[in-house]
Symmetry: D2
Subunit: 332 residues, 4 copies
């Protein structure tokens, strides 16, 4: 039984609390939060106990920590937890600064416990099936990848201001998906963005609608489309063209009911947002982490993967700013 | 917290054990089984204890029992548990004999605790959405209901021989669905069946492919199609035509991946069987039962509903045998 | 070049006029109609000439006639045209009276020119593909056939009164489809109907909603569902379950546009009615007729097929009236 | 009745011959071709006559010409035909040289007869429905357009060498579609391409897989994806995200049959190529041209539209070569 300390009792921490508790191989031993009340409340729900982060890191009975605190604390906590001999699962991103993230990677290079980054979409069952079909050669050599990733509604402006920008905050998941599916980093990244959904987002220095095009050394191309607003729900689709065909992962709908009337044929909308859509992915992610600890194997999403996703986001951010493609060799 | 005794630790008992344990309002206090080893094993998994059925019924700390034993014991256990003051959730069918089921209904008429029958499909989210749309008048008055319900593969012959026949064992779920959606019992039932999938099933006196047509006093018609074998998976679809349109509940697929090649465009199959398809329904069923106990309200699927489904199965069985429609007034 | 006389310039005659004219192997030489004005108007559109039916039948330059007159004249005209040595394509049904249709079959038994009945759905490309897959063994032995056939709106009461009833007028197409797909006639037909869409239809002695179940000697079963009203359009679906899978022919939609909004995901409706849906089938039907003349082969849908469809309709009409299954051996 | 001279009797000329002949308002008066035999053969099929191009242009009985000759002759023939007072429908592109196309536009500026460019996809019924929904405000203000356009297989290398390159030969249709749907030209075009499908195409100086991203003054963005090879058929999809939802035009499938087996659920492939997919569009295009002549109105796709599509192709070609975005103001 893996004993787990959860750092951070906010929205995403609550999601993880459930996965940790429900998993037969792990128990939620302690919870910390910047606001101790939050930690106590969540601990109460799961029969766990509230502690400070330092207490958790110092507790030799704790095998692993899940870092779900604010982004600016991630790198520090990864380093501290690794030094304390804990296995680490840290929410994305590693940091908003690529330099800091790289330093974190360097500082934990000799750690023996798994360090995993919470790029949860790799554990979505349909994306997993797409990846499996791809790796099994069902469409031969891949050529052109396309990712559509739209949120249902923009986050509050306050969030956007500290988010690091759409490319680091939102598209980072899609960058990781290109890395996961293409098994390589691109040569160049070209990005375009605008604040057509909400001019205030533009005022805040960010974009809400963006496209990034990635070119690979072997001629493959990937395109990512992001929007902060798709009023019909969370639109999460991937398709990849290969020499022998096309693989698509389509949206998951709220239910299977179809209504035909004089007004048309109406199906259900996609599930609303990431908590609905990716709940099975969060559980599978936790399961993979537990298994890597038990098997003493490398984590299935490494800190290095987390840094790579951030580097792609950095390149896209820069490309959108200068209005020209950015070479990955100038970023990494 | 509702304390629950689970009677029966077989396949379906195991499904319920999970729902009971996972529910925040119930705890799995004790488990019995004809084979005590099964009860002990399951109790071990959930931190519960193995007891005899009599011990459970005699335990005043137990609030409710879930009856998941063999069909021939259902009616007796419902009566005993009701007499012991327990709330009851009993797997379908109430009994293979309509007379026995009716007697059970009579014998428990004055029970104050809820008695619910496990006709779980009423709790399937998509069927529930279809029902809600129907009740909201979205297609106006209903006219023609059609249920497609195919199993992926026939059960063992030994099971078929004691099952009471396809109409009582398999189509009973669809009969309950007609009752649920039509809010009435039909005037007549006409059924046809054959053993085209496996002649041995015919030898055993049963059918494996069947159609039943139900006519209602107000002119509505319902059709049910059953097959014991749909090699592509568990095919569970409902559609209902009304004056203002058509409502359909379609299959749930294993994943959302679509592959296009020279051979065609391939989607995933329906989920394999009832454990995959109806797992959310089992959890929702349990939740509804717990809520009815807490609220001291009638159970959402009554013993009377269970008897009605059995009466429809009885009528269909007879109709298929005599080759003519059977009037429900001659059955009830 | 086959020279064709078109008997009947009404709605369906106009459809055929187009097919005859557009086909490279046929020309529309003459047109007759009960109302000579109709014939003249249509002839004007296609550069043809208006004549009386007798003139057309007497014209030795005419190779073939297409009978699109009122149903009560079909059998007489088939016989006259056959006697005049014309190839014949006659709209369904052969007659409303099965006896008259059988007599027509007998009276034309020694005719050398092809006599074909216009059961046009056999020429629908998707139904043809379904049939081809079935005959190629793609789902193995067939077991359970299901046909959904809903009109968008009921015809005028005046039409219904002379139509011969839903089974002979509307379901006859579906009966023919069972014959086409099952390659056999059933042992028994059981039918239920009601006038739930429009009570006036019931007053007129007909039904508007009906189900027929056909059982075959080898254990196969077919179910047909009809409604005179599906407000969302012409609903024409077929599915057949076999030992190795399921084949479905789905509706053809008006266009491929899908709109996702807060209200759901809206697709186009099925094409409105038979003229939209089956236009390619009418053209393919005519092509098949022309080819059978040129190749001096039997027509792909024989007068005997037309009589069989009518016999099934007769059985269903009787079954719905007496409330019991009817054996085909008592009808044929 | 519009009398039409068809210039060019090749594959696309044959498509137009059919539309011209079948249209009630036009007749195919004469046909010319570089190879006179081709003209004679096609004229024979349609009861037309073979002439030289000069004869056709000099014939005062000819109202309109359809130019379906090789691309290098388009601009000259447009100018000559316009000068001869003919209405003109010219296949795309106007020329491979943007300068020549612009000069053609200038040289025909004062022409009174309609000059239309055959950007036929504007007449596809589903794209037309998408455009109508967009213009009706069904998804509010548009934000992000995405076009997927894959051919089933690359053309011969010989064709590619003289085609002007993928952007001018293939993506030009998609550029026109952005113009049609966005009702504006972009500020910048950024394009990436590779020859991953066939290195020989790269050797020939062209690409076979490409992405272009267009940014608009008001913040809208459009993305086009092209591949010369999608083995499953002609993949032609458009989707556009707006403030109130998403509009998608999906592929047209070969038929509606769905087969479910142990191997999955298989639907038909998209129609194979442009002749199958866009045949209704060619007919509708011709109809629109005839109507513009009869109504003495401007053609629905102007020569200016043809030049705009070419300018976008020019910009994309340049962008892919220099590896940086190109501003449209530097092109136009």
């Amino acid at each position: 039984m893996i004993r787990v300390g959860l750092l951070g009792a906010g929205r995403i921490g609550q999601v993880h609390a459930r996965s940790i508790s429900a998993h037969p191989g792990s128990e939620l031993s302690a919870i910390s939060d910047y606001f101790i009340d939050n930690a106590q409340k969540l601990a109460g729900q799961y029969g766990s106990k509230a502690q400070t982060t330092d207490e958790i890191l110092a507790d030799t009975q704790i095998d692993a920590v899940l870092i779900a605190t604010s982004t600016d604390t991630h790198a520090d906590l990864i380093e501290k937890a690794a030094q304390a001999g804990k296995a680490v699962l840290c929410e994305k991103p590693v940091d908003l600064s690529l330099d800091r993230a790289k330093k974190c990677l360097k500082n934990t290079a000799h750690t023996k416990q798994p360090i995993m980054v919470g790029l949860n979409r790799r554990f979505d069952p349909s994306f997993g099936q797409l990846k499996a079909s791809l790796d099994a050669g069902e469409i031969g050599k891949s050529e052109l990848l396309s990712i559509t990733s739209f949120d249902p509604a923009p986050p509050p402006l306050e969030y956007i201001k500290v988010s690091g920008g759409l490319f680091r905050d939102m598209m980072i998941h899609d960058f990781d998906m290109t890395h996961y599916l293409m098994n390589a980093l691109p040569v160049s990244v070209s990005a375009q963005g605008s604040s057509i959904v909400d001019p205030d987002i533009g005022e805040a220095g960010d974009v809400d609608t963006a496209v990034a095009t990635l070119t690979y050394a072997d001629g493959r191309i990937a395109v990512i489309k992001n929007s902060r607003r798709a009023v019909y729900g969370y639109d999460q689709r991937i398709e990849i063209l290969g020499e022998k065909g096309l693989l698509q992962a389509q949206n998951i709908l709220e239910n299977t009911v179809v209504k035909s009337t004089v007004d048309g044929v109406v199906s259900a909308k996609p599930t609303y947002f990431f908590l609905e859509r990716y709940m099975p992915a969060y559980a599978a992610e936790w399961d993979a982490f537990v298994k890597s600890i038990v098997a003493k194997e490398e984590a299935p999403v490494s800190l290095s993967d987390g840094v790579a996703a951030l580097a792609l986001a950095e390149a896209a951010t820069k490309s959108a700013q200068i209005g020209a493609p950015v070479l990955m060799k100038d970023i990494l």
